[in-house]
């Protein structure tokens, strides 16, 4: 879950509302919409398996882009499971075993709970602007809405996806769709964002669908049930000790 959130966050962070035509300006505007000093999100993740679909709900707290804490609320099996991300470290706590397990190394590349996201996807929280250089490559209409189409190309080395294509709503400055590409240009993943709502003065997509394009299946949905910005989040929540509480 947490990784979903991270991805989401990373995307959100970098999309701000704006009217400028340069890519950077567009990204800045997107950022304004999507990122905040801190946030509390209650969300549902729907994973479409080959056989059935599953919904998990969670609440997650984050401060900046380095700290985040997620607690799963349902289903019963997952309830109470907590995930803590600090910088690039990730721990998961499970109440049934009273254990805190560090997820590291190769495990980070594994898919999270059969979703179309990997732990690493969840972990990567760098701002798009820091990682990619962007250019506007056109304008398209998606579901009746005008969008700016941005092409992002990695400017640093350690990225999972060499390039991305971002469709940003021309009015709300919220991304509507994103495609992630391999170095060769092969499409690997696709994200669609929808149900844009105005929350605390910003536009925010409340539904996202992630899809691994090389895998069969219907992708993973991420729905924000409630989101609050600029809340007071106690520091101790981002400690390993808090996992056990």
């Amino acid at each position: 879950m947490k990784k979903n959130i991270s991805i989401l966050i990373s995307i959100l962070f970098f999309t701000t509302i704006g009217f400028a035509q340069t890519a950077d300006e567009i990204l800045d505007k997107v950022d304004k919409n999507m990122s905040a000093e801190n946030r509390i999100i209650e969300s549902s993740m729907i994973i479409h398996g080959k056989r059935n679909s599953r919904t998990m709900t969670s609440i997650s707290y984050s401060v900046g882009d380095k700290q985040s804490f997620t607690e799963y609320l349902s289903p019963a099996r997952e309830a109470g499971t907590k995930m803590l991300k600090l910088e690039n470290q990730l721990w998961i706590y499970s109440p049934s075993t009273d254990r805190t397990i560090q997820i590291s190394g190769h495990m980070l590349r594994q898919s999270v709970m059969g979703s179309d996201l990997s732990y690493e996807d969840m972990m990567d929280d760098r701002k798009l602007k820091d990682v990619y250089s962007s250019t506007v490559i056109g304008a398209e209409e998606i579901e009746g809405r005008k969008t700016h189409v941005l092409e992002l190309t990695a400017k640093v080395e350690n990225v999972s996806y060499h390039s991305r294509k971002l469709w940003v709503d021309a009015d709300y400055f919220v991304p509507m769709k994103e495609e992630l590409f391999a170095k060769s240009g092969q499409l690997l993943k696709q994200t669609t964002l929808s149900n844009i709502k105005k929350i605390e003065g910003r536009w925010f997509p409340t539904k996202m669908v992630y899809k691994d394009m090389l895998k069969q299946g219907d992708g993973t949905e991420f729905i924000i049930n409630d989101i609050k910005f600029n809340q007071k989040i106690p520091e101790y929540i981002f400690t390993k000790a808090a996992l056990k509480q």
Binding site: G49, R77, I92, T97, R99, I101, M113
Partner: protein, 424 residues
């Protein structure tokens, strides 16, 4: 007459005991070695069957296609009902469910935080049911290095290499982290009841074995399993029967258009061992044939010797007025008695020994250096119905033949000459 001869055999130990012992030993060896060849040449098949492919194996069609991914979300459902049907319709086989799972084995420090961690290659088998033969079948008992096989829920046996590498001791708690059949996160603490080493590093790397009921619980696989394996109740793989059963099962229950419908595979289809199976069959056949011929020669020789040693007795009997033809007949009758007696004793002993070795195996691990291979470390025989009568070929026919040949010598000699030999 037979009764009279029988008395003679029983009372005259020097004449009867040795031949019977030798025939028995010969028959025993024949029976045992036949079983042994079948076992040794079949070992790869057998190990594959026991460990991986069963004699037949049922998976969902889609699981089968992706089986190297261990895709438990594609596992068989309603396994209970399926097994009930199987037990009813294919009662010649024993049906067991097994589940494979992946994940991490996480070893905690004193604060319950990760101290060490490694990938898990898990197997869940029926360890707890008293009637389960899985422990035996997978040779788990003999592969235990330290500790014991789990006996209650929440216990697991893990790879000895893993335990060594991360200094996990018996009684320690490790956490298994993975995902359930539905893809939920799965955490479960297991007490390490023992460590295991099968041999091949590939099998041992990250191995963790738990009971199937634990797996159902923790993997959210109530009434589900990765695969249902069928084993012929006599323990012997019969490719034709397996073919018939799988054809009939697939006809009834498998649906090409339903990727979650079960599909049955026979051993060689699953393991890619078609050619080896044929080879093993013919190799063991050839070896057994050779051996029976050799044993027949030995026992024929025994019969011949048995007849020869009694020349002086024949002399006496001729002197008493017995006809040569009659003496010859009694020689044959006696040979039949001795051959039968020896064959029966030998077969009983041979089958018993074979069964014993089939069950326990002959463990070479102590005398072989460097043994890390799971399968050939312990050698097993395989008792087949043929072994119940195979010993009679050398035991009865060869002995009678030998005696008959010896008896012919009586005809060759003049009565007077035999008579003379009696005055020694």
């Amino acid at each position: 007459m037979i009764k009279f001869l029988f008395k003679g055999i029983l009372r005259d130990r020097s004449r009867s005991l040795l031949p019977v012992i030798i025939v028995s030993i010969g028959v025993l060896l024949t029976v045992f070695l036949s079983g042994y060849f079948t076992g040794v040449f079949g070992d790869i098949i057998d190990i594959n069957a026991k460990f991986t492919s069963g004699h037949v194996k049922i998976m969902t069609r889609v699981y089968a296609e992706n089986k190297d991914q261990v895709p438990n979300d594609l596992a068989l459902m309603e396994v209970g009902e399926l097994k009930t049907k199987l037990n009813l319709e294919y009662s010649e086989m024993e049906w067991v469910s097994r589940t494979h799972f992946g994940g991490l084995i996480d070893v905690p420090d004193e604060n319950g935080e990760t101290r060490a961690q490694g990938p898990a290659a898990g197997r869940a088998v029926d360890l707890f049911s008293p009637e389960s033969q899985e422990i035996e079948r997978m040779n788990i008992g003999n592969s235990v290095v330290k500790g014991v096989i789990p006996t209650k829920s929440g216990e697991a046996i893990i790879s000895d290499d893993f335990a060594e590498r991360f200094s996990v001791n018996i009684g320690d708690e490790v956490t298994l982290f993975g995902s359930t059949m539905n893809g939920s996160m799965m955490f479960h603490n297991f007490i390490v009841s023992g460590t295991i080493r099968f041999g091949p590093a590939m099998l041992d790397r990250g191995a963790i074995i738990i009971d199937i009921t634990d797996a159902q619980m923790i993997l959210d696989m109530e009434d589900a399993a990765s695969e249902v394996l069928g084993y012929f109740k006599d323990g012997l793989y019969d490719t034709e029967k397996a073919g018939l059963i799988s054809a009939s099962f697939n006809e009834k229950y498998s649906n090409v258009n339903d990727e979650f419908s079960p599909q049955m595979f026979k051993l060689e289809e699953d393991a890619g061992l078609d050619e080896y199976l044929m080879l093993a069959d013919s190799m063991s056949g050839v070896m057994i044939t050779f051996f029976i011929i050799a044993m027949s020669i030995v026992l024929w020789n025994t019969g011949l010797l048995g007849g020869l040693r009694r020349y002086s007795e024949y002399g006496i009997r001729l002197a008493l007025g017995e006809e040569k033809k009659h003496i010859f007949k009694t020689i044959i009758y006696e040979a039949i008695l001795i051959g039968l007696l020896g064959s029966v004793i030998g077969t009983i002993l041979g089958i018993s020994l074979s069964y014993y070795v089939q069950e326990t195996g002959i463990d070479f691990s102590n005398i072989m250096e460097n043994t890390t291979m799971m399968f050939p470390q312990v050698f097993r025989t395989l008792v087949k119905p043929a072994h119940f009568f195979i010993g009679f070929i050398p035991g009865l026919f060869a002995v009678v033949l030998g005696n008959a040949l010896a008896g012919f010598a009586i005809y060759k000699r003049k009565t007077a000459q035999l008579f003379k030999e009696l005055e020694v």
